[in-house]
């Protein structure tokens, strides 16, 4: 039971949790629930990306990718929130 197997199991578990969040993305009653679900999805993807860094032992490459993904996820969420605030669509 090397650490790589543990990281693999952990990333599979987090991906399964992200799949559960996908239910809220599809069936979320309104636009707002979908925004929250996508935000949760993005945070989980950042963690899975970092775990992949350790599975493939290419840490320097994947760390940059997950950092950029965290930044983009944050900017996307704030942009959508600002857009819906102006448009006033519930």
């Amino acid at each position: 039971m090397t650490m790589t197997n543990f990281f693999l199991g952990l990333s599979l578990a987090i991906s399964f949790l992200a799949l559960l969040c996908f239910y809220r993305v599809v069936f979320g009653p309104g636009a707002w629930n979908r925004i929250v679900a996508v935000n949760v999805f993005g945070t989980k993807t950042t963690v899975v990306l970092l775990l992949m860094a350790f599975i493939y032992a290419r840490v320097d490459m994947f760390v940059d990718i997950s950092l950029v993904y965290a930044l983009l996820n944050f900017i996307g969420t704030v942009a959508i929130a600002k857009f819906f605030e102006k448009k006033g669509e519930v």
Partner: protein, 108 residues
């Protein structure tokens, strides 16, 4: 001996982080209203991913280079700052849009 300790700390911290991520997901699915869902996921997700990322930083600090561990810690600090801010932005936008919070007797 030291590598065993680092591995044990990494596994333990990651599993606790996984538990918090799981509770955030349950909160997202089970809570009745938009604000309750955001309340649950905003905190649990941040803490869960924070724990997992810091444990990976510790693992990297021991097995790889310290600089990369610092970069991984930078990600965790950024998520620690960015996630609550994003949650606040959504909440403010939803409230301005006139989304009323859920009350007990409302439709589930």
């Amino acid at each position: 001996m030291l590598s065993q300790i680092v591995n044990i700390i990494t596994i333990g911290l990651s599993l606790v982080g996984l538990f918090f991520l799981f509770s955030g997901t349950v909160g997202l699915l089970r809570f009745p209203d938009f604000y309750c869902r955001m309340h649950g996921t905003g905190k649990c997700d941040t803490l869960g991913s924070l724990m997992i990322i810091t444990s990976l930083a510790l693992y990297e600090a021991y097995h790889g280079s310290i600089l990369l561990a610092l970069k991984i810690l930078l990600i965790s600090v950024f998520i620690f700052l960015a996630n609550p801010t994003a949650t606040h932005a959504i909440a403010k936008a939803a409230f301005v849009c006139g989304l009323k919070p859920w009350k007990k007797e409302d439709y589930r």
